[in-house]
């Protein structure tokens, strides 16, 4: 088995320079000389991308901070800047304004939120791509690709067996003529458009009263089609892009994420990040409410 190591500082900076559209955080991180893994050996020069292969243990090149996306989806943070304003429909804006988020320019105090995440509800897709996307494992066979997320030990399946993308219908999808109900992680179908690029479309997710798009309260609906592009840049890297097309909430498609990942050592044992309802409740009783001036018996 070939042991893979994270990039050296030089290689990291070169790659980040090549992907100038990536986050400022990535660049700052690289310039600080911080490495994905202390003590790792110098990495070899990356080779060509393997043919139709996304498998591996992946980490954001810019570090954990890039994947956390606390301030909103990575490519369009909810920071009040005009260039990051989303093209809401009137209904989309209404749904956004009904969300009381703990992050972003419209954040509320910890005790005032209504983020389903804080009850440990499933994040669903595509929010899973925008909440603590840290160490991510991908396994694949000729029929399907499994994406294993670190947060809450969640996973989803991308079918690559040649099936058609299901047709969206009220309350779910028609897959091969058979009705299937909406799912937290939807129905994903992928197609290799060349030997290094997989395009994945996902439909049939949960409605906007059950899931959010990001931690700043941006909405996503059950009429969304999410397109992801997984592109193997070389033997050590993969670019993961996501575009939201949700006519119920947004007037036009927009890019929510474009993150470069590098392969981690295959021996990497991943830390659990479960959302425990008991722990979450205790956290708010002990801390969140006090920070918000809410009376509690937690202390």
């Amino acid at each position: 088995m070939v042991k893979r190591f994270p990039l050296s500082a030089t290689a990291s900076m070169a790659l980040i320079a090549a992907f100038a559209g990536f986050t400022v955080a990535s660049v700052t991180h690289a310039q600080n000389g911080q490495q994905p893994s202390a003590g790792a050996a110098e990495s070899p020069t990356p080779g060509p991308a393997p043919r139709r292969d996304l498998s591996g243990t992946w980490v954001p090149v810019g570090g954990t901070r890039v994947g956390i996306q606390a301030g909103g989806v990575q490519a369009m943070p909810n920071d009040g800047r005009p260039e990051h304003a989303l093209p809401y429909t009137p209904y989309g804006l209404e749904v956004y304004e009904s969300h009381k988020a703990l992050e972003g320019v419209d954040a509320v105090l910890p005790a005032e939120h209504n983020d389903p995440r804080n009850k440990c509800e499933p994040l669903g897709f595509p929010r899973m791509n925008h909440y603590n996307i840290r160490v991510t494992q991908i396994f694949q066979n000729p029929y399907k690709i499994a994406v294993l997320y670190q947060y809450d030990n969640r996973w989803r399946t991308i079918w690559v067996d040649g099936r058609q993308l299901p047709e969206m219908v009220d309350g779910g999808v028609l897959a091969g003529g058979t009705y299937k109900a909406s799912k937290w992680y939807g129905y994903s179908v992928g197609e290799w458009i060349d030997d290094s690029t997989l395009v994945v479309r996902t439909v049939g997710m949960m409605p906007e009263d059950r899931v959010w798009l990001d931690s700043t309260g941006r909405p996503i609906s059950d009429e969304a089609t999410v397109e992801e592009v997984f592109r193997r840049v070389d033997s050590e890297h993969m670019e993961w892009t996501e575009t939201i097309d949700d006519p119920k909430l947004y007037t036009e498609p927009w890019v929510a994420m474009k993150i470069l990942f590098s392969l981690a050592d295959p021996h990497t044992d991943i830390i659990e990040m479960y959302c425990s309802p008991v722990e979450m409740e205790y956290y708010y009783e002990s801390f969140g409410n006090a920070a918000s001036d809410v009376e509690t018996n937690g202390n």
Partner: protein, 150 residues
């Protein structure tokens, strides 16, 4: 019922109380924004640990501070999630009930005895620094312990 304590009072109950300018190296929190806290200054508070809650979404240290008039104030301060803290060099059993600690926090704006931890100093001089922003770390040097070599 939550006991209210002003930030000003908290400063006076802390033995080496002082205000420090923060140098802008506070790590990003994933669970909530920072605006409930005064990120422009820090408090140093001495107390006795009553609980170390190592869990998501954020770890908590509970500690009791004795005021000059003998009252006990129950403080709660948070770090980041365990996955972040491991990368910053913290461990699940780093703090134990009874530990004497000096905790530097960014206090809540509302004056309650809660805050975000900048660092914890123990009586033996050991220091846990929450500002070690190693957000690029995957923790491999920790996770790989015991793994076979190829």
């Amino acid at each position: 019922m939550l006991r209210k304590l002003s930030v000003k009072s908290a400063i006076f109950v802390a033995a080496p109380a002082c205000l420090l300018a923060l140098t802008g190296i506070v790590p990003a929190f994933a669970h909530h924004s920072a605006f409930a806290f005064d990120t422009e200054r820090t408090l140093i508070v001495e107390g006795i640990v009553t609980e170390w809650f190592w869990a998501n979404p954020h770890c908590l240290v509970k500690f009791d501070v004795t005021t000059d008039n003998g009252d006990t104030v129950h403080w709660v301060a948070e770090t980041q999630a365990p996955a972040n803290m491991v990368d910053a060099g913290w461990r699940k059993n780093d703090l134990k009930p009874g530990d004497e600690v000096t905790v530097t926090v960014q206090p809540a704006r509302n004056g309650n005895p809660v805050g975000r931890i900048v660092r914890v100093e123990f009586a033996d001089g050991r220091i846990l620094d929450a500002t070690q922003d190693r957000s690029g770390a995957t923790g491999n040097e920790y996770h790989l312990s015991g793994a076979p070599t190829d």
